[in-house]
């Protein structure tokens, strides 16, 4: 497996795990009260654990370079998040949410595009991988 594909899979996994983390955080957050101890509930803790796992995968993944590819892939998590919000919390998916998300994805792509020449390690190798 080429390094780029491997980092893409890692970042993809991170986005998926992270979005589940967010869903559990939301479930846990709804159960909190004014008491500090209510913040230590199973769903919340599980959400945090998922976040930690996701960030470890993410950091390992973006080392592989090609940030213009990898950054927008992180934002895939926002799309999963929208789906879970609909399924688990029955939140309305309005046109504004889709439009806003679309703009955010485009924006993140550009930030990634602007970032890649500033990241020293792997970009050139990753670009060569893509050209093959």
């Amino acid at each position: 497996m080429s390094p780029l594909v491997r980092s893409m899979l890692m970042v993809f996994g991170a986005s998926l795990i992270g979005s589940f983390g967010m869903a559990f955080l939301k479930m846990g957050a709804e159960r909190t009260t004014k008491s500090i101890w209510s913040f230590v509930n199973t769903r919340l803790v599980f959400g945090v654990v998922l976040f930690l796992g996701s960030s470890v995968l993410y950091v390992a993944g973006i080392k592989g370079g090609q940030l213009s590819v990898l950054y927008p892939m992180v934002s895939l998590g926002y799309i999963w998040g929208l789906v879970w919000a609909k399924i688990f919390f029955n939140e309305p998916l309005t046109r504004q949410k889709f439009a806003g998300l679309g703009l955010i994805l485009v924006g993140v792509f550009f930030v990634g595009l602007g970032s890649q020449d500033q990241q020293p390690p792997a970009p050139t190798a990753a670009i060569q991988q893509i050209r093959r």
């Binding site: 913040f39 955010i104 924006g107 595009l113």
Partner: protein, 103 residues
């Protein structure tokens, strides 16, 4: 219902995430970053309690905006056209998203 408070909390929270990212860039101990990340998570939970997940989650993308602005000011990186286009588009997207959440 998403109050201004939740938005403020998220903005503060995303600013904290950038602390995490810049700490990686600056090669500071990762622990420092994670403790900031912990505060960020707490703020996120407070926001999620009353806010919609479908809105709040993408707003985290403001992290990229803060990271970029921080890299300009703190790290003194030269301004970059792609990044500028990117952060303006993200802010626009968050604004559109914010309008969609109010009922």
């Amino acid at each position: 219902m998403l109050g201004a408070l939740a938005q403020l909390l998220i903005k503060k929270g995303t600013a904290s995430i950038t602390g995490d990212l810049t700490s990686i860039v600056l090669n500071l101990p990762l622990i420092a970053g994670y403790s900031i990340y912990g505060i960020n998570t707490l703020l996120m939970v407070l926001a999620l309690k009353d806010g919609e997940m479908s809105m709040l989650y993408p707003i985290i993308a403001l992290t990229y905006v803060w990271t970029t602005l921080l890299s300009y000011t703190v790290l003194g990186e030269p301004s970059n056209m792609y990044k500028n286009i990117g952060i303006v588009t993200i802010v626009l997207g968050v604004a559109v998203m914010g309008r969609g959440g109010r009922k």
